[in-house]
């Protein structure tokens, strides 16, 4: 394979991996603090990107057209709204079920995801059709031997990686992060330390959902298209990524995200059979990985959380 082509695959893979990792980090954070899987995550992401799209339409009607202003407004409104939604979900659907069997939370959030998806399809104007998300980033490209590196892709990946690093710093270096990690390891002792448990859970869900909104906007800016079903597969893949990395471990989520992207790319291009088998291949490898490392690549030991 020539270098240019390889570069192109690598660039695509990194882009996908960044998005998957952002979704997976959310799963890992939620699992960390509350031992739950919030399956509506993908649809919350979709809602984030639709919020962004709505902001864009609103700005257009106000006559604001500076792309950087638009991006800033889209990001802020979408992330804040989605973060709040995440906290509301945690408060009213997840926390009340904390003592119920974990499967119930899985099912209730799955149903919530369906409800969100259906609501957008039915109640968003013309919601069942894909929407053209604006290309707001500069599209200049550099041709590097058969592989065109576009400015918008570079910016998106850089921003995505920055968000992941930022999240990591928040978790590992701040007082809030310390509280989140404490809650993740031992809820009761964390309370005894004077940590407002409910608040930390809500904040964690807000952070995770905000990250999903960011991934949603990133998705929109990159593919220039959003649709009501986009969250379903992204959520599923994010969940798988979080699991293969090892639930509750932020590095695991990142590793899992990039690994899944790599598997899909390899499945599509480097294997002898038809590219339609790439998902079969990727999910097959996931199953094999689980047989080999039943608790994920970065294994969760005793109470290794976040």
């Amino acid at each position: 394979m020539d270098i240019g082509l390889f570069g192109q695959y690598l660039a695509n893979g990194v882009m996908l991996g960044t998005m998957y990792a952002l979704v997976a980090v959310g799963f890992t954070l939620f699992f960390g603090v509350l031992d739950v899987i919030k399956f509506s995550h993908g649809d919350v992401l979709m809602l984030g990107s639709f919020t962004g799209f709505t902001v864009y339409i609103g700005l257009l009607s106000l006559g604001i057209e500076n792309p950087w202003v638009m991006i800033a407004a889209i990001l802020i409104v979408s992330i804040v709204t989605t973060a709040m939604l995440g906290a509301v979900i945690a408060r009213y659907l997840v926390l009340p079920l904390k003592s119920a069997p974990p499967l119930n939370i899985l099912l209730i959030t799955l149903m919530l995801g369906t409800a969100i998806r259906e609501a957008v399809r039915l109640f968003y104007p013309d919601g069942s059709n894909p929407k053209a998300f604006p290309a707001l980033l500069p599209t200049a490209s550099v041709d590097l031997g058969g592989f065109s590196l576009r400015a918008d892709s570079v910016i998106l990946v850089a921003a995505g990686v920055a968000v992941i690093i930022g999240l990591n710093l928040v978790i590992n270096r701040t007082r809030l992060g310390l509280a989140i990690r404490a809650v993740a390891q031992d809820e009761e002792t964390a309370k005894i330390m004077g940590i407002n448990y409910t608040m930390i859970v809500l904040v964690t869900f807000a952070i995770g959902s905000g990250a999903a909104a960011f991934a949603g906007i990133m998705n929109g800016l990159y593919y220039n298209e959003v649709n009501f079903g986009m969250g379903l597969l992204l959520g599923l893949i994010g969940f798988c990524a979080a699991i293969i990395g090892g639930l509750g471990n932020i590095y695991g989520a990142i590793l899992g995200g990039f690994l899944f992207a790599a598997l899909q790319t390899i499945g599509a291009v480097a294997l002898p059979f038809a590219s339609a088998y790439k998902d079969v291949f990727a999910f097959g490898v996931v199953i094999a990985l689980m047989a080999w490392k039943p608790t994920g690549l970065i294994a969760e030991r005793s109470s290794d959380r976040v």
Partner: protein
């Protein structure tokens, strides 16, 4: 309540068995009319009626009477229920669609009984129910199309093949726990459907025709004549479906009450402790997983023959979710709860056709509400009773 003996539990002065029989007749009559109801007002009215009846009668002690009847007169009650079911099938005799719905419900019930062994008893998750259901249906398709395999054997083959395919997952499923094994089965579910679509050996995305069922010269797709009336050919499938569901119920209940059931329970509650007591945890898990998949596969084979056409789209991840929803809604490990939930999950969206594109939204909201307010499911599992009539003094 616990201290009373069975004969003490009375509702409106009637002995438990009488109450139980009356309730069964009432439910059968209601089900018969509900399956026939078509106008939206009738459907909504009947749903409201059922909900009201459920709430008010539960408060008047009917429930206690009912469970006393189930405990004290298990055999008579079970026979009565089966008789009621068969009567409903014959009452519906000529109504194709209600019979199709009823049979579908019975088959989903069978599936949910199978999944219940995995979820409810052993604590293993399986998000690939629809895939194993599909294995059964595809087995039926291939066997009816190629070669002259006796149909009852096809049902068995559906179960066996589903168990064999399940073996592919045994290693990762047994080694992992909780959310990790959820991912294994979810991945399998996605993989299975994509695989069917991508390759053309099994009909690809267009699907396959499934031949009808023929046993002892009795073509299941021809209409039986009963009391001089020509019945819907679905009567055949409904009867078989009822038999299958009853058999599955019996098997699972026996299993639950046996030593194996106790083993599965202890594996669910504490794997490490079970291993310390010398229980073979791996064997228990393999057994439960396989047993569940066999039931799912058999139901799938019958479903394929009844619906006569199958395609990968029918066995997607969201169908698996529907099956999991039945188990959780009913109450983990609770067979009667499962049966009730199967009725709700299969029939409600169908009866809600009237609200068309809004019904999935409504359905998901209903499930959320039930889980919020009845986290243990509609009819939570009771503590196992080995000797139904025996109570410690």
């Amino acid at each position: 309540m616990q201290n009373k003996t069975n004969s003490d539990v009375r509702w409106m002065g009637m002995p438990a068995l009488a109450v139980g029989l009356i309730v069964i007749v009432a439910i059968a009559l209601f089900g018969w009319q509900f399956l026939l109801a078509e106008s939206e007002l009738a459907v909504l009215g009947m749903v409201a009626l059922a909900a009201m009846a459920g709430v008010t009668l539960g408060k008047t002690g009917l429930q206690a009477s009912m469970s006393a009847a189930m405990r004290g007169h298990a055999r008579s009650m079970n026979i009565a229920i089966l008789l009621a079911l068969v009567s409903v099938i014959f009452l519906l005799g000529q109504e194709h669609f209600p019979l199709l719905m009823l049979t579908t419900t019975l088959l989903y019930m069978t599936v949910a009984f199978g999944l219940n062994v995995q979820f409810g008893l052993t604590g293993m998750v399986n998000f690939a129910g629809a895939s194993f259901f599909g294995v059964g249906a595809y087995t039926a398709a291939v066997l009816t199309n190629h070669g002259a395999v006796p149909p009852l054997l096809i049902l068995v083959a559906g179960g066996v093949l589903s168990a064999l395919i399940g073996c592919l997952l045994i290693v990762p499923v047994v080694r992992t726990a909780g959310h990790y094994s959820a991912v294994v089965t979810i991945a399998f579910s996605v993989m299975f459907k994509t695989f069917l679509e991508v390759n053309d050996v099994l009909g690809g995305p267009q699907g396959l025709m499934v031949g009808p069922m023929k046993t002892f010269g009795w073509d299941f797709n021809s209409s039986p004549v009963f009391l001089g009336l020509e019945m819907s050919f679905y009567v055949n499938y409904a009867l078989l479906g009822a038999g299958l569901a009853a058999l599955a119920f019996m098997f699972v209940q026996r299993l639950e009450r046996s030593w194996i059931g106790l083993t599965l329970d202890s594996v669910r509650l504490d794997e490490t402790a079970s291993a310390c007591f010398g229980l073979n945890v791996v064997r228990a898990k393999v057994l439960a997983f396989t047993f569940g998949n066999v039931l799912v596969g058999v139901a799938g084979a019958l479903y394929g023959m009844m619906i006569s056409f199958i395609a990968p789209n029918s066995f997607s991840f969201s169908d698996s979710l529907l099956m999991v929803a039945i188990v959780l809604l009913g109450g983990m490990g609770s067979l009667w709860g499962t049966a009730l939930a199967a009725v709700i999950v299969v029939i409600l969206p169908e009866k809600l056709q009237i609200i068309q594109e809004y019904r999935f939204l409504l359905f998901s909201v209903v499930v959320i509400l039930v889980l919020l307010f009845r986290p243990e499911g509609l009819i939570p599992r009771k503590v196992r009773s080995y000797f139904p009539n025996w109570r410690p003094e």
